[in-house]
């Protein structure tokens, strides 16, 4: 369960309704400042709302961290074409599980954020593109949307204000690539999920070649809070240039993995020690993936004194990304980590461009061979070399996402690769944990023979 009891070190802005009884219901939402922001927004000019967003220093929470106010101002609001609102809920980055909670516990907050976007852009329609694996979240969102329609918070001429807005959910079909905004739009339009050539950016030519405001779930969900508290006050929660709070998804070898909301600039070690409850089994920290599997790996030494914000992480040549923090302890086999990451990207490469399609496939095969004990000294050089040949040369950032962690692992943990050559493949660890999981599953199903032990890398 990624949601834990609130921790005192958290600053709960967008997660403030998490954990309330029946938090997904309109009733609970209305009792806690529900749809107050849209009421306030309707009394403001669109430009004033964008100015608030700019003042809030809110940056895109999907991973790229582009300033949201700026992005909103890029949408040609005077265009004669229809404008659309699109929510990227294709949360697929390994290590990231925040949008899930936002939709599960507070769907109306997201709807409200979209409505504000709709008001600013003069859009009448919005969609939430939810990854296919989040089937149950689609149901939750659909229920929330139905509630909002019945309470006249969605539909035409809402509460007589003259503002009309409609929202529908749209299911993805299980492709990581469709989290890339232009591929998402292609997929949304019913085509193969491959990225588009940019420019034009979706702000100018998005869904059905119309101006489209496309943001992450967390970004939209933050907008109501910003309007209510004021941009400057929100910005003040964080540090300069990285305004406000961010959901952190702490996973890996910690005692209390989960999603926590912290102000930007929060110290990383505090996040691990306090929020995450410290390292599991008292082990030592070896490495941290700071913002989802595509971010370059950080060593324990680099994490020391590091704060979690866009600029601090850029300084150590990594990224805050989506806030998917994966904590790895001293027993972790980094060669296997490299393989596991590459297996993911190889499986998710869309096949459009050559370096990503062939590079990830080659690297996966190479790393598999290496892990099985058939590696050579030249392979170590080649792993870094191939990843660098992908980096910056692919059509979309998926190739970079595969290359960056690989390059960082080979550079920072090269010794482990040498060990493989010297001592052969390492025994797999964490069997205990897997065995426990299996026993739990067996107890649940009550049938012993049905589930074979499945070794995974």
């Amino acid at each position: 369960m990624p949601y834990n009891e609130p921790h005192p070190a958290e600053t709960r802005i967008i997660s403030k309704r998490f954990g309330l009884p029946n938090s997904a219901s309109l009733e609970t939402f209305m009792a806690n400042e529900g749809y107050a922001a849209i009421k306030k927004a309707l009394g403001m000019t669109p430009d004033a709302i964008i100015d608030e967003l700019k003042a809030s220093n809110l940056r895109g929470r999907g991973g790229a961290g582009f300033p949201t106010g700026l992005k909103w101002s890029f949408v040609p609001r005077t265009s004669p074409k229809a404008k659309y609102i699109m929510v990227n809920a294709d949360e697929s980055e390994p290590g990231t599980c925040k949008d899930r909670l936002l939709m599960e516990f507070d769907p109306h907050q997201l709807l409200e954020g979209m409505m504000i976007g709709g008001y600013v852009m003069g859009a009448k329609y919005g969609w939430i593109y939810i990854r296919g694996e989040y089937r149950y979240l689609i149901d939750i969102m659909d229920r929330a949307i139905a509630e909002a329609y019945s309470a006249d918070y969605l539909g035409d001429n809402l509460h007589g204000t003259g503002f009309s807005f409609h929202i529908r959910t749209h299911s993805g079909a299980g492709a990581y690539e469709c989290g890339e905004e232009s591929a998402l739009l292609e997929s949304f339009e019913g085509k193969r999920g491959i990225p588009r050539i940019r420019p034009p950016f979706p702000a100018v030519s998005g869904a059905y070649q119309s101006p489209t405001l496309l943001n992450n779930v967390e970004t939209f969900a933050t907008v109501p809070a910003i309007l209510l508290m004021g941009g400057a006050e929100y910005a003040a929660l964080g540090i300069p240039k990285s305004g406000g709070t961010k959901l952190l998804c702490i996973s890996g070898h910690v005692n209390k993995p989960g999603v926590y909301e912290v102000p930007l600039g929060f110290p990383m070690m505090r996040a691990i020690e306090e929020l995450g409850g410290g390292m599991r089994n008292g082990k030592k920290l070896k490495a941290v993936v700071p913002g989802g599997s595509s971010c370059p790996m950080l060593t324990a030494a680099e994490c020391d004194g590091l704060t979690l914000d866009y600029d601090a992480l850029a300084k150590v040549k990594s990224m805050l990304g989506s806030g998917g923090m994966i904590v790895l302890d001293e027993d972790t086999d980094m060669v296997r980590v490299a393989l596991r990451i590459m297996r993911f990207y190889q499986h998710e490469s869309c096949g459009w461009c050559i370096p990503c399609r062939e590079g990830t496939t080659w690297l996966k095969k190479l790393l598999t061979r290496f892990v099985e004990g058939a590696g050579t000294q030249s392979d170590i050089v080649m792993i870094g070399d191939l990843a660098k040949n992908m980096l910056g040369r692919t059509f979309c950032p998926l190739g970079d996402a595969a290359a960056m962690p690989t390059i960082s692992i080979i550079e920072k943990f090269r010794g482990e690769f040498e060990d493989y050559l010297a001592h052969g493949p390492k025994p797999r660890r964490s069997y205990v944990r897997e065995e426990t999981l299996r026993e739990e599953a067996l107890a649940w199903h009550g049938q012993a023979a049905a589930i074979p032990a499945q070794p995974t890398v």
């Binding site: 050539i197 096949g351 461009c353 050559i354 399609r357 062939e358 059509f395």
Partner: protein, 692 residues
């Protein structure tokens, strides 16, 4: 016109029109930026990443195929970083490529081979297993070998955008991505082979070419397709007097690289086993093989006797013959056999159009006008199936220039998909449809009207009136059926018109009249089949037939001469737009002679060689140029493989209209009268409507 943009590529100052893609701007300056997926005329992909170049101030290398030039841009294409990127992209490409060049059809003309040779690494570092997928056959003419595929998506685009068919797509993901046909395991499409042609590697291969030869073992002969009237250039690959392949990779003709199934694959009638290879003479009621000298002497003797008796000769020319042959034939008839009963099967009312146009500002369209005209009105015809090149040009025009396409047809046509306005009419009421959109036509800037045999005679005159009422010059194209249907009219293979559309003083019999006239004494049929399925009235008439096959008419003949096909002779043909192009002989088939030579030898046997002149196509063409108005085109254009449009007549043609004689066969891509019946490939594709 906006000012050109100045930029620097590899230290060289170049200028380009604003909006030009960097890859093209560099090409214009003679700097090659390699690419697989970029293909001029089709949508941009930026998928292959071969064209990455360094652009100053850009944080990383940029794809030149999607980057428009900008003022002051500084580009470097020859740096170590660029070279390394190209090398690594090719290395990546080869990881799952089978490297079976020694047995691959494409070996020797493969873009991947060329690229690796030029930009690739000397050695492979790849030691893992390769993905393998078995080869698939999608149709009699298209095979797909997925491991060779580099996923440049050219085939998908040419099928979707170029052909308007969209029979190809992509399935699966990542390295398992594969091109797939529309019917799951096979294709249902135009079978044009454009996908095979555009494939840079040997992934898509041609059903009739595969494993036959290596490219460098063939001779390549550029000639004109003999099937429909579009006059596409097809480059025939010839080995050992067999045509193995047709394509137009060098884009040298009016068709660029376009070819339909007929031009690309429909040449195999030339070595059909039923091809006639010796003259036949009827003896005791049976056609028996004879020597050329015997058959020529026999025919000449009979012709001379009949001529001496003032016999009535009927002569049927053909829309498949060259201009020279048709000219020679009508001259033979008119000057030696003293008859004006010379005709051919007409498929479009060219004569009425030319007459109606005289005195107006209307002109005849060229094939390139179908690409250039801002508006096009299609009347009657299903161009995609009947006039594939014109249809291809219209689609390109729409894609690149957003042309306004109007269709007035009885049934749904492919142009409807891109049309500005479509009007459905009852067959025969096409003009009413044109009247309906008249107001909309008035707002256009220019117009090209293309019509088939549904508009002829009086309705054609009315169409020209409508065209003349528009506030701009209108171009016309009267659709005809076969490779030289237009030329046959110009050459005067008509009972009432001499060469150059000069009226004859004493009109002779039409084809229909010849067949039904009991008073006919002799019938000379060259390359046509007028007796098929028709009762022939003049039972005693002496019948001579020249053809490739034993047609229905040939079966009733007294003498049959085996002709050479259009791929086996020289001469010129005039396409649907009046553009004259030259044929080049690609092969020879034993025992056959070109029709011109057969007629010449007959003239010699009859002792009229002096009257008839030399039976060499260049000499006859010189005579045509002096006699046929509009054919005085520059010879260098023709001899270098170009197309020269004949000049319009520009004067009245005072002859009676015979709209009832104008009938198009409306052959589609997979049928074409006689030749198509003997093409195994045309008959083998499942789209062919005839039972196989």
């Amino acid at each position: 016109m906006p000012d050109p943009v100045k930029l620097t590529v590899d230290g060289q100052q170049i200028t380009a029109e604003p909006g030009t893609l960097l890859i093209n701007a560099a090409k214009q300056a003679g700097i090659e930026i390699p690419a697989f997926c970029y293909y001029e005329g089709y949508s941009l992909q930026a998928a292959c990443r071969m064209c990455l170049v360094e652009v100053e101030k850009a944080p990383k290398m940029m794809a030149a195929c999607t980057l428009p030039v900008a003022e002051g841009m500084i580009v470097r294409t020859q740096t170590a970083q660029v070279a390394a990127a190209r090398k690594s992209t090719l290395e990546f490409l080869l990881t799952n490529h089978p490297l079976d060049c020694p047995v691959c059809d494409k070996g020797g003309e493969c873009e991947l081979q060329d690229m690796v040779f030029r930009y690739g690494a000397g050695e492979s570092r790849y030691t893992e297993t390769k993905l393998h997928v078995d080869e698939k056959q999608w149709s009699p003419v298209v095979f797909f070998d997925a491991p060779r595929c580099i996923l440049c998506f050219r085939c998908v685009r040419v099928c979707n955008e170029g052909m308007g068919v969209g029979a190809l797509g992509v399935i699966n993901r990542g390295a398992f991505s594969e091109i797939a046909p529309n019917m799951g395991d096979h294709l249902n499409c135009d079978e044009c082979g454009m996908c095979v042609d555009i494939c840079p590697v040997g992934a898509l291969t041609s059903g009739i070419y595969r494993y036959k030869t290596r490219p460098w073992e063939m001779e390549h002969v550029s000639t004109i397709c003999t099937h429909c009237s579009n006059g596409c250039k097809t480059t025939l690959g010839v080995r050992n007097d067999h045509i193995i392949r047709g394509n137009n990779r060098d884009r040298s003709g009016i068709n660029g690289e376009f070819l339909c199934i007929k031009g690309r694959y429909g040449f195999d009638f030339t070595d059909h086993p039923e091809r006639l290879q010796a003259p036949l003479i009827r003896r005791n009621g049976k056609l028996e093989p004879a020597s050329w000298s015997e058959a020529l002497a026999f025919t000449a003797k009979r012709f001379s006797e009949l001529k001496a008796n003032n016999a009535l000769f009927g002569i049927v020319g053909s829309a498949h013959l060259t201009n020279e042959e048709n000219f020679y034939l009508q001259k033979f008839g008119r000057q030696v056999l003293n008859t004006n009963s010379i005709d051919h099967q007409r498929s479009g009312d060219v004569v009425t159009l030319l007459d109606a146009l005289s005195g107006t500002t209307g002109t005849l369209a060229k094939v390139e006008d179908f690409y250039n005209s801002k508006a096009i009105l299609v009347i009657g015809a299903d161009l995609a199936l009947e006039q594939p090149l014109l249809s291809f040009q219209i689609r390109a025009n729409f894609r690149h220039r957003n042309a306004h396409v109007f269709t007035v047809t009885a049934k749904e046509v492919r142009e409807d998909k891109i049309s500005f306005r479509s009007v459905r009419v009852q067959h025969g009421e096409e003009l009413a449809g044109v009247e309906e959109i008249h107001a909309q036509l008035l707002t256009e800037q220019e117009l090209l009207i293309v019509f088939d045999d549904s508009v002829k005679g009086a309705s054609l005159r009315r169409l020209v009136e409508i065209g003349s009422s528009l506030p701009y010059a209108v171009k016309y194209c009267c659709l005809v059926d076969y490779s030289n249907s237009r030329g046959a009219v110009d050459m005067g293979v008509l009972p009432d018109l001499l060469p150059g559309h000069k009226p004859s003083e004493t009109p002779g019999l039409t084809v229909e009249a010849m067949v039904t006239s009991a008073s006919l004494d002799a019938l000379w049929i060259v390359g046509a089949d007028p007796l098929a399925g028709a009762p022939f009235a003049a039972e005693k008439a002496f019948i001579v037939v020249q053809d490739l096959f034993l047609t229905e008419s040939a079966k009733r003949a007294d003498v049959v001469f085996p002709s050479a096909s259009a791929y086996e002779k020289s001469g010129t043909v005039t396409n649907v737009c009046g553009e004259i192009q030259q044929l080049k002989p690609a092969i020879r088939t034993m025992g056959t002679k070109p029709d011109l030579e057969i007629m010449g030898l007959l003239a010699r046997e009859m002792g009229v060689a002096a009257t008839m002149g030399q039976w060499v196509s260049s000499k006859v063409f010189a005579e045509i140029q002096s006699q046929v108005a509009g054919y005085a085109v520059p010879l260098p254009i023709l001899s270098t493989g170009g197309a020269a449009q004949s000049m319009p007549v520009n004067g009245r043609i005072p002859v009676a209209e015979h709209p009832e004689l104008i009938r198009s066969a409306h052959d589609n891509l997979f049928t074409s009268g006689t030749l198509g019946r003997y093409s195994r490939i045309l008959n083998s594709v499942l789209e062919n409507p005839r039972p196989q």
